[in-house]
Symmetry: D2
Subunit: 412 residues, 4 copies
């Protein structure tokens, strides 16, 4: 399917596609076929290649070593990296690193950018975003956030309990959401604080055992449960304005939701590629499976819905480049999450036992994509926002017409 | 939802929206509330108003009295007219008239345009498109077309049996698909011939009783079953090149499918407007129904899918303005048909008994939209095309990878 | 599919099936093919035949001329009658007549049975059940019922506004739900009162225009909007105990919901029969449509879901013969309503233009079955009941386990 | 939900339920909470307790130490064991062991029963069923089976390549499907041969990495890929009649499909129990999640569909106790597989991040249940059978009616 992406966007994406086809996917296939682990050295070698090919960190400004693309223009590149289990990692466009980069780049001080952002982009260090808490804190309802940071002189003293901090096991620093003004509503009393993980009182409790969770790379950042006990960091570690943590998080998450959509769209497209190849190759009852109309038609519907997802993500990315685009992002996220789940489920079904086994990447995809309907706002949270907006827009004339009946009926 | 439509498109659509809100919808509501029929005189008065407001026949060149918009630019106007049962009719953008205009404008001779197109645009005469035949002829498989036209001197002699000719009861002329070269494959041996309905041998058998079929206007064009028995018309009545009827029909239908999508999107949007107003007004168990989360969330999903439909129809319209866009149109048509069916079904459910009754337009919408998954290519036909294209694009690398396993497994 | 129905049930159903195949369906097909109306005389002739064949009014005791079957045993007969548009009518098992018979038989006085039930069973008179009111009254929330009956001497004086009284246009009497004790909760202050339609103050306002509504019989009972203005009937016209109207209505509706399920299951089965015959007969692209795997598989799913519906309706009927079976009935009703809607939609799609036309009964079925998700408790109302029951049954151990995590997490 | 199960069935199931609640589920919860592995000794201790409580191996005759229940009567017990990850294992009712027991009990010789069945029931040895082959062999199309067994004197010489042999890593013997008469159609030329795994030439290649695959028990039977290279076993090891392997496998699989349905129904029920407890406990935006109508209604639908699944599995079990019940089993399998997948997906969604993590069993369930739509006949295979049966039953009258139109239309 051709889209009306900008020339720049197409140009970078074409190089990303070639990198995936020539370097990344062949290595992924090899690793799966032989049950091998891809080493850190290999990943770092890919980063070098990506730099040589001018496609490293498309989301970052050129001065930090990226390609300087906005959401619309990074879109087709991010779709491409989603095709491989290690695609985003291979060009340093993987969550949560790219979202953390985005946050620092957007609201960080010059010092923070120099000290943390520059090496983060280069992959010299890693990071985590500590928002979610056990018992719903840091989830859809901001009132439930419990982690606090109190000022003591020129230091923050942080206490709290976070979990599901992605890449938390290998992070060098964490961006921690904490309430910094207990008297205010959390929306205006929460801050983001940068906490190096080697600070006293930072306790990485465990990698939370979770669905899927079979990494094919040596480095396993995991989803960490972390306790913060009287953790002290300088007040300068505040990221963005004090007490504006939720606003910054929303900006971070708006973009993050869309980049997730892009990557998962690529994953779904790859799944269809595999399913179609598989069906073309295998036979039953004397015909290639690809001739069986039932699966063909389901694949047609899958292609159609994936096209629809890609179209509304593009629309939302264009809007996000110039506004908050809250509803556009919510619709894109919930729609893409559901459609990519459906499509990957279909691809698994098409490949039968090979869909369940790990010689193909589909089982990994299946386990991975399931989280997408929950993280970054569960479906229910986005539906809530979309519905609220929808019901703000009641047409007066329709209301009057309906009321007229009632009056008629009551009067007589 | 804001789209990135052109200034011209938005400008006309804004006027169309106002016309609907100020003139057309109030009259529709009145007619429904009082079980009245809207007369031909009233419709003609609307045409005059539409001309005064510069929004008559947006799809036609200005020299025939239209607004000269291409597919992309007519789109938001066509969405607007879909909101009312008589919206498209009220500005002469209703099927099949607008498709027939489009065909004559595209391939008609100057004489045909002068004699038939000009008065057709003005609403002085009406037309039908006689393609479909009983027993699948003229449907998805061109080989099954049975109607023939044989040359006898400078006349065509037409014999055949058509049905489901929309507006056939009131048509002044028909565009008839007939095989004109029996030795060729129908794709290169079929022509479109213009047949005035008062020609000898044209026999309008009946208005086929069908789902819905409750017109709220005086004029009831119906879906006609028509027999052609030795019907003679001059050879000059060939519309477009002889034997290229299928190519012309495809062009006509490509655009027609999209304009259907636009109108039905508007119908779905209106249905949601009504449902939301209704839910806001009615109560059960102490709360307005609008507070009931289950229907709210379903409405959120409906808004999301409608947005997706509108986005891919826009994409397809842009492509259609410069290419055949066969797959884009097929995806748009089947997706929009299914989504608008779902949404209107939901709106009926939201309104309960009022969704079933005819004081609201929803029952009409429900009956009407059901046909959309069948006409202009049933879902199954479009899925077939989409799948065929999808399976032409098998990735070699995936195929090789799969084959590698097989070899491994067989060798040992 | 074979069920483990009782011998008696199978025995009557076999006769009903034969009656449908030999008498009723042939006449239905004839009427559709020729766009004819089936006369009252014809229906009465069918009643005579049904009596001769010992299958008249299966739901009524033999002393009133019925077959004396309980819910379990009437089930397969009611499935059979659902196959035809006039099947239930042809053996006097049609709603709302059979539900009204059931009510009078269950709680009526001997005098009421003699005066009203006996001729009602015989078809000498007809009846309606006036429960639903405009603006949600008489719907899912009993508090919204507004019709009142006040005692004045030995008469009830009834005032109120009802609508959607099925067969209200031709009814000789109505069973009217009215609040008879305004100080009590409606559950214990509402009565059912028998009102002859020729009583002063009974005003049949209109037949509510509604979805479908194309009867193929001469007699058109309609769905009536009715006003009651100072309508006086003797207090003896109370049906069942005074102030126990809701309890009686629940009994009536519990059974009524199941008999609806039975009839609509038959309608769905017939739809599949037609779709399969159609697909076997028609061709496209060189094969019979029946060979097209996509529709075949959808029909397989339809058969499976219909089987599931029939199985749970059977289970509910067995339970209803010995208990209230509220949840069993709610599940059966909402599941069957949705499944039969889906199946009939599929059958329409299978038959293409013939599914939309009225030469086949599918368009009638499609319009008719849509009401089933709304009447007798909309889906939402039944889901509400099922959920309430489900959440009453929280497992203590699961709760404790979940709480344990929270404690752990909070403590440290 | 109450079913009309036999007294015996209910009586055993009540004891199984208590065993799950008192012994098995508490241990499962402990193991998950602490990320512990349940040892073989613990499992063996559970077997002893199960014997003491008279609920060990319900599917086996009492003379082998089981409870002697037929399919109908074991049903509610098998539903109970499905509630825990180790439930079936804890009473020795786990696949594939119970299916292999069933096969040996059904067609094994007295010697085979003494040597293999008796210790198998007792858990002294373990077994595998080697049917599936790479490249579709042993799948839905029997013609693709490639493994062969040739007679050499009084020995079979087996060559072939199998995979997905569940419990293959720990099996003491395998039941191997092999072609034994190459001239016959596989349906009448295939045998089942018992092969001890310590026989020369049996090569357990690997445990196929697959979706999920996180066992919480010490013993990990896995899904093995196995090569058979000139494996020699005595001809007496034929299980059942020579060349009747497919018939026996069908009998085995018919029952196996149903017992899978029973266990997965229990898994789905447990998932709903957990989801409901979770929703009751957690809050968002000021209310317990359990008050949120959208999830409540989805749970209502889930309960309804699970009820439908359990009803048709019961129906099929009753039929299977007296016939082949091929279509009943196919419908039960495909319906239950889809419904339990949906329900477990819903439960994951209800629990959010806790649905993804492994403190609860839901992530395990989610990964596990996905296989159920593929193993024991993929959905597509069962739909194929159901459709074939459905299309054998075309009603003559419907066909004639449709043809009549065609004739009318062609004649004139």
């Amino acid at each position: 399917m051709e889209y009306q992406d900008s020339e720049k966007a197409v140009e970078v994406a074409t190089r990303v596609e070639a990198f995936m086809d020539e370097v990344v996917l062949p290595r992924e296939r090899e690793a799966l076929a032989n049950d091998e682990v891809i080493t850190n050295d290999e990943i770092e070698a890919m980063w070098e290649m990506a730099k040589d090919r001018d496609l490293f960190a498309p989301q970052m400004p050129e001065k930090y070593g990226g390609q300087g693309l906005d959401f619309s223009d990074m879109l087709p590149s991010f779709e491409q990296v989603g095709r491989s289990l290690i695609g985003a990692l291979s060009i340093r466009a993987n969550a949560p690193q790219e979202g953390n980069m985005h946050t620092l780049e957007m609201v960080g001080t010059d010092e923070q950018k120099e000290q943390w952002l520059r090496p983060l982009v280069q992959g010299e260090i890693s990071s985590g975003f500590s928002m979610t808490e056990p018992m719903q804190g840091g989830g859809s309802d901001p009132k439930m956030l419990r982690t606090t940071a109190e000022k003591d002189g020129d230091e923050w003293v942080i206490n709290g309990h976070k979990w599901w901090t992605t890449d938390g096991l290998t992070a060098d620093f964490l961006l921690v959401m904490a309430r910094t003004n207990m008297d205010a509503h959390p929306y205006s009393g929460t801050s983001i604080i940068l906490v190096p993980t080697d600070t006293d009182g930072v306790n990485i409790v465990r990698n939370i055992p979770h669905m899927g969770g079979h990494s094919i790379t040596e480095r396993e950042g995991g989803h960490a449960e972390i306790k913060f006990e009287n953790v002290r960091v300088p007040v300068e570690n505040t990221v963005g304005e004090e007490n504006e943590g939720f606003q910054i998080a929303q900006m971070r998450l708006g973009g993050g939701r869309l980049t997730h959509c892009m990557r998962y769209s690529g994953m779904a497209e790859r799944s269809l590629d595999i399913a179609k190849a598989y069906l073309s190759k295998r036979e039953a009852f004397g015909d290639p499976l690809a001739e069986k109309q039932s699966l063909r038609h389901k694949i047609a519907d899958a292609e159609t819905k994936l096209h629809a997802a890609r179209a509304i993500v593009r629309h939302a990315a264009r809007e996000l480049d110039r506004s908050e685009a809250r509803i556009e992002v919510a619709m894109s996220k919930t729609y893409t999450a559901n459609v990519t789940n459906e499509i990957i489920d279909l691809a698994v079904q098409c490949c039968g036992a090979n869909g369940i086994g790990r010689d193909l990447p589909l089982a990994h995809f299946y386990e991975d994509v399931r989280t997408f309907r929950i993280v970054d706002g569960a479906d229910e949270v986005h539906r809530r926002s979309i519905a609220r907006e929808a019901f703000e827009d009641i047409k007066e004339e329709e209301l009057e017409y309906i009321c007229r009946f009632d009056t008629n009926r009551q009067m007589h």
